[in-house]
């Protein structure tokens, strides 16, 4: 493990252990973990520190592996980045979140409704309002939120916004595509962390749990299910590794990253169903209880794969990419030029 991996693992582990048995619906923001991330410079790694997607991926997957209840991807990769692009100020400290919403401009006001905002009551919200002619960016504090949460209890919310058009950052509409790509990229990386945790828990459980006089892991049917789980996870990891390399080499705005994220989103999306189903099957009924930690990971994985575009959405995109390519094999082998 690198120093960075070790640090992230230690912070994540401490957070997970200290909150066991107290996780629920909705899950509470972990202020202690956040303070640790700020003190170590990990909270805004790519925006404030001299680090890129490779390091960011270590932080995101490492914290996901311990179900860290903080908007880490939202703060660094989305909110701070987008505010910087739009030339608007965000608070220098504290968690941030971000949302892309369709909007309309009328009489000097930009109006719309933001849906699925992560951690809306724990962070200042950077709203990216997409209209027919542009992308308008503003910071909204304490919006009047309708609260909800995802399957894992992570807070999500929606709110209507009404922004003065002369007091927002203005960007090209296509920046919204990079916003979505960054979000999808981050979720793929985070899901890998949850799948690793899911596999570790399942190996541990089947090794310890004794039925018919022997550990579950000694049954061949169980071994084959574990192998299936490992396979799907490694396949998803390989696709995600390509997306991480693409972002590190060419940036999030590139065609190469678009290609690799599209592939990864489908590969990860399809892996989640299989891995989480097997994990719950092998855990037996204990795995669906709130007191067991399995759901912190399986339900995060299930929720996250639907964000920033569904698996089916990206499958259609990749399908169209292949169908319109001069030679579909070139799309298999790499991202066709220009990248």
């Amino acid at each position: 493990m690198s120093d960075l991996e070790q640090l992230v693992d230690e912070l994540g582990r401490r957070s997970l252990e200290s909150r066991l048995g107290r996780r629920g619906f909705p899950d509470a923001f972990d202020g202690d973990l956040w303070r640790n991330l700020e003190e170590t410079g990990l909270s805004r790694l790519t925006s404030a520190e001299d680090a890129g997607p490779t390091e960011s991926a270590i932080v995101l997957s490492g914290l996901a592996k311990h179900a860290g209840a903080v908007p880490i991807a939202e703060t660094d990769l989305l909110a701070t980045w987008l505010a910087g692009r739009a030339g608007i100020a965000v608070p220098a400290e504290g968690p941030l979140t971000a949302v892309l919403a369709d909007a309309e401009v009328h009489d000097g006001r930009i109006t719309g409704t933001a849906h699925g905002v992560p951690w809306p009551r724990s962070a200042a919200v950077v709203v990216a309002a997409r209209t027919a002619d542009g992308l308008y960016v503003a910071v909204v504090d304490n919006p009047p939120t309708e609260d909800s949460h995802n399957l894992a209890g992570e807070p999500r919310g929606s709110f209507a916004f009404d922004l003065p058009a002369d007091d927002v950052g203005t960007l090209d509409r296509h920046v919204a595509d990079e916003f979505t790509r960054r979000g999808a990229w981050a979720r793929c990386v985070q899901v890998i962390g949850t799948l690793d945790a899911t596999r570790d828990l399942t190996v541990a459980h089947t090794t310890e749990r004794v039925q018919f006089g022997r550990p579950l892991s000694k049954f061949q049917a169980v071994q084959h299910s574990l192998a299936e789980m490992a396979g799907e996870t490694e396949r998803a990891r390989a696709a995600t590794a390509l997306a991480v390399a693409a972002a590190a080499d060419f940036g999030f705005g590139s065609a190469a990253t678009d290609y690799a994220v599209t592939v990864a989103k489908v590969a990860v999306g399809r892996a989640v169903g299989s891995v989480t189903t097997i994990a719950h099957q092998l855990h037996g009924a204990i795995g669906v209880t709130v007191e067991h930690r399995l759901w912190l990971f399986t339900m995060r994985a299930r929720s996250w794969v639907d964000e920033f575009g569904s698996t089916a959405h990206y499958a259609r995109r990749l399908g169209r990419m292949v169908l319109t390519a001069d030679d579909p094999w070139r799309v298999v082998v790499s991202c066709p030029e220009p990248r």
Binding site: A238, A239, L242, A267, V332
Partner: protein, 399 residues
């Protein structure tokens, strides 16, 4: 003045990125990829062979193998002193996947190139290498691999073929089955017992022998597949004399020799791409304006192929770097061959959207038929998926 393509490419400076490396597309590999593609297209146009599914088992074409050898694309990892090009495993990977993607008839030299040459390089004597490696690299030697027997399929340690010590060598007796291409091969590599079975050490006492197929005492009988194709054989050895000089590696070390390099064989592109011609030709024949559900089906199929290829390349890179990647190699074969099987029915579903009046439609149905007949083999050959999952489970520490 026109600059030859190969020269023009060498003038371009290729940016080396991690992304390109993960795609097996960095600098030299990208140039090599272009070279082999151009070679295959030109060869197909000149000689008129048609892309096949599962071509590494099903398409034997001595002429193609020798032309491929002459162009330097066979035995690429063989050192130059033995007539090869002294290139790395990733070079071979790129050439292999491009050949499979175009459904090229590679069966004749396949086992020489994939198994026999690496075995000779690891365990062969200098004399054996000097005699055989140059012919392999020329694409003119066909090897069969004699492993399975009637009573030894997944449980290879149950092999009963015996080698008895005689003056100056050994005599082989026993029967091998499922031996691909033995009816056309020049040599067969035989795994045999050289000491009696020790129930406590079942893997001990095996040795490997290189046997000329025209040796007295060898009988080859066809094992015909459903559909009528003949690739497999039953090979019977009746007191076949093998000189000491034709022992491969060390007596008693056979098990380690046959298992030590399984990683390359299990994780190679042929574990993902046996149906690739069916997939690619079906996609090419689809109209651009298919409905969303069909586009998603194409995307799902291709995402699976790309992600498996990424996994396969990561294992190839690890193995080339000398790492132990045995567990992940077994994973690739399990996942890859199941993808191959699933892809046949996915392609069948997509074929519904191909205009039956298109000239290529009949051809696509031919590929589909061939794929359906070969499909059960994908998850059997070279170790069943049940065995592979056991290997993976062991790697996870639960077995």
């Amino acid at each position: 003045m026109t600059i030859p393509a190969a020269v023009a490419r060498s003038l371009v400076s290729w940016p080396v990125t991690e992304f390109d490396a993960l795609c097996a597309n960095d600098s030299e590999l990208a140039a090599l990829r272009t070279d082999i593609r151009e070679f295959v297209v030109a060869d197909r146009e000149e000689f008129g062979w048609r892309p096949a599914v599962d071509s590494w088992l099903a398409r034997w074409d001595a002429g193609f193998s020798s032309r491929l050898g002459d162009a330097g694309f066979v035995g690429m990892t063989i050192p130059t002193e033995y007539g090869g090009r002294g290139l790395g495993h990733l070079h071979r990977y790129v050439v292999t996947e491009e050949l499979l993607a175009q459904g090229a008839p590679v069966a004749a030299h396949w086992f020489s190139d994939r198994q026999f040459a690496p075995s000779l390089l690891s365990y062969g004597t200098d004399e054996q290498r000097r005699v055989m490696l140059p012919i392999i690299a020329a694409g003119r030697m066909y090897a069969a691999i004699g492993m399975s027997e009637h009573g030894a399929g997944s449980d290879l340690a149950a092999v009963k073929t015996r080698a008895n010590r005689v003056d100056g060598g050994w005599t082989l007796s026993g029967t091998k089955v499922w031996t691909s291409g033995a009816h056309l091969a020049h040599r067969i590599v035989v795994l045999a017992r050289t000491s009696p079975l020790d129930p406590d050490h079942r893997h001990a006492g095996f040795s490997q022998f290189i046997v000329e197929m025209d040796s007295p005492g060898i009988t080859v009988d066809p094992i015909v597949q459903m559909g009528g194709e003949h690739h497999f054989n039953e090979v019977t050895f009746d007191e076949v004399f093998v000189a000491d000089a034709d022992v491969l590696g060390s007596i008693g070390d056979g098990w380690r020799q046959v298992t030590s390099e399984l990683g390359f064989e299990r994780s190679g592109p042929e574990r993902i791409l046996s149906t690739v011609t069916l997939i690619l030709e079906t996609v090419r024949a689809l109209p651009d304006d298919v409905d969303d559900g069909t586009a998603a089906a194409v995307g799902d199929l291709v995402a699976r192929m790309i992600s498996l290829r990424q996994l396969s390349i990561s294992v190839a890179r690890a193995l080339a770097g000398g790492e132990d990647a045995a567990t992940r190699a077994a994973l690739v074969k399990d996942l890859g061959t199941r993808f191959e099987q699933d892809s046949v029915e996915s392609a069948a579903d997509l074929l519904e959207h191909v205009d039956p009046l298109l000239p290529e439609s009949a051809r696509l149905w031919e590929l589909l038929t061939a794929a359906r007949l070969h499909s059960p083999l994908f998850t059997l050959r070279g170790g069943t998926n049940e065995v592979l999952r056991g290997v993976v489970a062991r790697g996870m520490g639960v077995r």
